[in-house]
Structure formats: structure tokens, C-alpha cells
């Protein structure tokens, strides 16, 4: 069972109170983009085994979209944060690195 704390209302919401919004921090490609960029924006999604950033909606609560950093392999939740950002905030990255030494925001692991 996955429990995520909604950063807007503070409810520790159980997975069934939420709706999944899949990968977070997608960069939008619109008019003027190449077909390849637009195709990647529309369809190409990361599917990592490990640290992953996702969008979730507190559907049965305050109704807001928020973002979550979690591990897809262990279901460990590193943190949740408001959606008005284009990349993971520093405190979330620090929390991930504390648990996954060497992990970098681009998904690479340095030794």
C-alpha cells in the first residue's frame, strides 16, 4: 500500500484516495517542435527501476495535483512537493541522496 502526504492539505492519503498522473517534470513540446520531439513528449516515458518522479492528484481530498519522489523497486517514498515547479526541489534531491548515495537528478549514479 502506498501512502503519500498531500503537500497542499497535509493528509496522509492512501493510494485509493489518489489518482495517478504518471511521469512528472515533462517538458512540453508544442508548435515549432520537430516531429521527433513532439512524439517523445507525447509518448516516450521513463520506466526506471529505482528513483522516479510522478504526478499524483488528491482526487478524494483537496483535488490538487502534486508531485512525488519515490522508489519504484522498494516503494520507499522520499517526499512529496507542490506541482508549481519544473524540476525536483533541492530538499527532495537531498532526501533522495541521503537514502541513495551517488544518485544524481538526471538519473545517473556517480561512484
Amino acid at each position: 500500500m502506498l501512502i503519500l502526504e498531500c503537500p497542499y492539505c497535509g493528509v496522509k492519503a492512501e493510494e485509493t484516495e489518489l489518482s495517478p498522473g504518471y511521469e512528472a517534470h515533462l517538458k512540453r513540446f508544442g508548435p515549432g517542435a520537430s516531429p521527433e520531439e513532439f512524439e517523445a513528449y507525447m509518448f516516450a516515458r521513463k520506466n526506471p527501476k529505482g528513483v522516479h518522479f510522478e504526478r499524483w492528484r488528491h482526487t478524494y481530498g483537496c483535488g490538487k495535483w502534486f508531485l512525488a519522489a519515490r522508489c519504484t523497486a522498494t516503494l520507499e517514498v522520499f517526499g512529496t512537493y507542490p506541482a508549481q515547479v519544473s524540476e525536483p526541489p533541492a530538499d527532495i534531491i537531498a532526501k533522495i541522496q541521503a537514502r541513495r548515495p551517488g544518485w544524481q537528478p538526471d538519473g545517473k549514479v556517480t561512484k
Binding site: Y8, G10, E14, C62
Partner: protein, 181 residues
């Protein structure tokens, strides 16, 4: 003038807790954020302060609940809805806001008795031991959205009117004598 009727005509059930459909209550959805006059506008209609996140301020028949960072639920007597909307329109004139009468879109239940929480525990993924007095919890009751708070030795549960029959069925089934937790 037609008489307002509640969703289930005041249906009730006496199990290990008592279920009563109440209402109709006047309910207004107020959406606004960062509006200066908001606390005064709410005070003028419910005579309560603006609730903190996830709280409900209750004052007799009136109340103001925090629904989301930009949404409040105002509860007033059914007959006072028009006057309340007029008051809000006046106090919030020129401010970005939305106030709408949702009284007839909702159904309200009371779950009462020593074991009232047991009725709701079976239906919602909520830790009722951690539910604070005056806390408004939006969640689901089985498959539908609901909002609930502890009040007067029991709980008040609000849901959409279109699922009132479903929720009455849930509460009735959950309160069957002998099924206490």
C-alpha cells in the same frame, strides 16, 4: 413556492449506531484565494473565523469548512442561502471569487452513538484515532467522495445527492447489529 426536500426524505436506521439523513441544509461552495476581504466576508455570514487548513469552524446551525487551498464550504439554514449569497457578493465585490448554491446537490447524514466511528472505519481509509476535534476530512466512503467531521457525539457525513441512496446503503450495512469492530 415548492418545499425543499432532502435526498432521502429523512431516512434513518438504528443499528449499533444510529444513521439519520438530515437536511436539507443550505450549502455554499466559496472559491477564493488570497482575497483580503475573505475573513470578513465569511464572518459576516457564518459568524465564524476563516478555518485553518483541514478545519471546520462550527457556530450553531452555521459552519465554514476548509475544503482545499482555494475552496470553502459554507453551511447555513436552507432559507438563508439567497441572503448569504447576496452578502458574499457585496463583501467580495471586485475580488476574484466564486460563490454558488450547492444545497440541492448534496446529501447530509448523521452517524451517532458510542461506536459511530466503527461505522465509518469500515468505509474510509481514515485513521479515526488521529482525527482531531474540528477536523474536516475529505475522503471516500467506499466508492464515492465524502466529507466528514466529528460533531456532537457522532459524525456528520456529506456526499453528493446523486449517491445519497448508495451512501445510506453503505452506512446501514456498516451499522448492522453484531458487526461492531
Amino acid at each position: 413556492m415548492s418545499e425543499p426536500v432532502s435526498a432521502l426524505g429523512g431516512a434513518s436506521f438504528h443499528g449499533f449506531a444510529t444513521i439519520r439523513e438530515i437536511g436539507p441544509l443550505g450549502m455554499i461552495t466559496l472559491r477564493a484565494k488570497g482575497v483580503k476581504a475573505l475573513d470578513k466576508a465569511v464572518k459576516a455570514v457564518t459568524d465564524t473565523k476563516l478555518p485553518a487548513p483541514r478545519r471546520i469552524e462550527i457556530n450553531g446551525e452555521k459552519a465554514c469548512g476548509w475544503m482545499s487551498p482555494d475552496e470553502y464550504l459554507l453551511i447555513v439554514p436552507y432559507a438563508e442561502v439567497s441572503a448569504t449569497l447576496a452578502s458574499l457578493a457585496k463583501s467580495l465585490a471586485g475580488e476574484h471569487h466564486l460563490a454558488v448554491d450547492v444545497s440541492d446537490a448534496r446529501a447530509i447524514f448523521r452517524v451517532e452513538g458510542d461506536k459511530a466511528a466503527d461505522v465509518l472505519r469500515k468505509l474510509s481509509p481514515v485513521d479515526f484515532e488521529m482525527l482531531q476535534p474540528g477536523e474536516l476530512r475529505r475522503t471516500r466512503a467506499a466508492q464515492v467522495a465524502a466529507a466528514m467531521w466529528a460533531q456532537d457525539a457522532g459524525f456528520t457525513v456529506v456526499c453528493f445527492r446523486s449517491v445519497a441512496g448508495y451512501v445510506m446503503g453503505l452506512l446501514t450495512h456498516s451499522a448492522q447489529p453484531g458487526s461492531e469492530l
